[in-house]
Symmetry: C2
Subunit: 296 residues, 2 copies
C-alpha cells in the first residue's frame, strides 16, 4: 500500500541529491568534499549586472572567446548605453533578447564610442586554450568540455562556446559583422546547438536567469513583443567593478580544471542516488552546469 | 556601414525561416510543400486539457508507451481528481509539476477508482513499434527517432520516450510503482535525459506550454513552492472528448512517418537559410519538435 500522498510528495526526488546508497560518488558527496581551491572568483571587470524591475541578472563575460565583442559590450555598458532600453523578445524554448526598441530609425540610440560593427568571433584557435574534455558522444562536436569555466566544442583546430541554457550571445543580422553587442540574447530553452559557430557567444548567466526565463512570451514572429507595453525596461546594466559594494554579489564558481570537477562530472554521468534505477552512464555537455555559490 | 539599427532589429534572424539562398531544403520550403496527408489529428480521447487561470495547456498522451499509466491518468481525470488541485513546483531549467498540495496527510484527496500504484513503464519492447530513425550521434541512446509521433530512444530491444522539452511525465517516489499519475510534470528546460528509463513518460504538450514555462520559480528545495499562496490553481483537467465543442482546439500534428517529415528533419539538420554561415550538418533528437497547427 502506498504511503499517504503527502509522504509521496515529500520524496519526489526528480533531481534530488539524496543520500548515496553506496560509497560511489554522488553530486552531494562531491559537493560536500569540495575545498576552497576548487572554487574561483570571477573578475568583477567581466561581470555584467543587468537591473530589471524583477531583480538583477548577473552574467560572466568570456573575453578569451570573444575579445572584440566583449570589449565593445564593455564600452556600451560603461557609457550607459543600455539604461532605459528594454527586453524586446521572449521566444519559448529559445531565447530572451534585449536591445533598443526604437521604432523609428532616427530615434535609435547612438552607439557612442562603441563600434557599430564588430568582427565575428564564432570560433577561436584551439591552440593556447586548455580544455577539460568530457567523455560524451556529442551530436554537434567531436570534442566537448570546459575551458575557462565555459562549455565548449572543438574539432582540434578551432574551439567555440556552445549554446547551452543560460549562455549569452551577440545578436546579429545577416552580415557577419552586424552584431556589436547592443542587442544580446540568453538561451532559455533546450540548447539550440545549430547556432554554434554561426553567431558570437560572449558569456553565461551566473545568477537571476529566472527573471528572463519567466518573462511572458512575445506573440510576434520569433517571439518579439508586438507592443511597447509588453517590453520589460532595463533599469541599468553595469560592469561588476562599477557596482556599488553594497549591491555586489560575491560569487564563487566551481573551477572546471580540477580533480573535483572531474568527480562532479562523473557524479552527473553515473547516478548513484537511491532514486535512480538506471545510473545512466552518459552525459551531454549542456547537462553539466558548473555550480555557482554566493559567499558572505 | 551598418544599416540603421531599426533595420538590424528587423533582420535578427535567430531561427528565422528566411528565403533559401538556393533550391536546397529549408524549413520554410518543406512546410510550404506539405500536403494534408502529412498531418494527423490526435485522438481526442488521448488529449488532456488543463485549464489554468492563465489559459489552457493541451497535452497528448502516449498509450503505446505507457498504457497502464495513461489509463490511470484517464480515470483520475474522468473522476475530476485534479479540479481544484495546483501547480506545486517550478524548478528553473527543469520541470513544472502539479498535484495535491494537501499539507496534512488526512486531507489528501482520495484517488477514487484510480489505482494508488501503477506499474513502471520506463521502457517498452522495441518489437511492434516502428521508429522513424534520426541520423544523430546521441549522447544517451544508440538509436533515436520518432514513434507514434513522440521522440524515442532505443537499444534495439527496448524503446523509450525521451525527456525532451515539453514531455509529460509521471512523478514518482523511490518505489518504482509509486507514480500513479496523480502528480505529473512537464520538462521546461534543457532535456534531462538522465531521467530516461528512470521514470514513466506519458505524453507531450501540444499547446499552451508557455503557461507552465513562465510560472514564477519555486524557492524551496527542488523548486517546490514554499507557501500555498504561490500555487497556481488547476481549474480543471478534462479529456479531449469531454471538452465542450466550443472549447475544443482542433489540432493537426505533423506526422513523423512520412517523406515530408524526413525532409523536415533534413532541413533542421542542414541549415540552408541565408543567415547561416555553417549549415551545421548535425541534429539532436530534442531539437526536432514535430510542428503543431490549429485548423478551423
Amino acid at each position: 500500500m502506498l504511503q499517504p500522498y503527502r509522504t509521496l510528495l515529500g520524496i519526489l526526488l526528480l533531481g534530488a541529491t539524496s543520500a548515496a546508497c553506496s560509497d560511489e560518488l554522488t553530486t552531494a558527496s562531491v559537493m560536500a568534499a569540495l575545498e576552497q581551491s576548487d572554487w574561483r572568483q570571477p573578475d568583477p571587470a567581466n561581470l555584467l549586472y543587468m537591473r530589471l524591475p524583477q531583480g538583477v541578472v548577473i552574467m560572466e563575460l568570456a573575453p578569451s572567446f570573444a575579445p572584440e565583442n566583449v570589449s565593445n559590450i564593455k564600452t556600451l555598458v560603461r557609457e550607459k548605453y543600455f539604461d532605459g532600453l528594454a527586453i524586446i523578445r521572449s521566444q519559448d524554448n529559445y531565447v530572451a533578447q534585449w536591445g533598443d526598441p526604437a521604432e523609428e530609425e532616427n530615434e535609435a540610440r547612438p552607439f557612442g564610442s562603441a563600434s557599430a560593427t564588430v568582427v565575428p568571433e564564432f570560433s577561436r584557435a584551439a591552440d593556447g586554450l586548455d580544455i577539460t574534455t568530457i567523455d560524451s558522444r556529442d551530436a554537434y562536436a567531436d570534442i566537448v568540455g570546459f575551458a575557462d569555466g565555459f562549455p565548449v566544442g572543438s574539432d582540434g583546430e578551432g574551439t567555440w562556446l556552445t549554446h547551452c541554457y543560460g549562455m549569452v550571445g551577440v545578436a546579429r543580422g545577416n552580415e557577419l559583422d552586424s552584431g556589436n553587442g547592443s542587442s544580446l540574447y540568453v538561451i532559455t530553452g533546450h540548447a539550440p546547438r545549430h547556432l554554434d559557430r554561426n553567431i558570437t557567444l560572449a558569456g553565461r548567466v551566473l545568477s537571476g536567469i529566472e527573471h528572463l526565463t519567466t518573462l511572458p512570451r512575445g506573440t510576434g514572429p520569433l517571439g518579439f513583443y508586438e507592443t511597447a507595453d509588453e517590453h520589460t525596461p532595463i533599469i541599468s546594466i553595469r560592469m561588476g567593478d562599477d557596482v556599488p559594494e553594497d549591491d555586489t554579489a560575491n560569487f564563487e564558481i566551481m573551477r572546471t580544471d580540477t580533480e573535483a570537477f572531474a568527480d562532479y562530472v562523473k557524479s552527473r554521468t553515473f547516478r548513484h542516488e537511491e532514486w535512480f534505477v538506471d545510473p545512466t552512464g552518459h552525459i551531454e555537455i549542456c547537462n553539466i552546469n558548473p555550480p555557482v555559490r554566493t559567499i558572505d
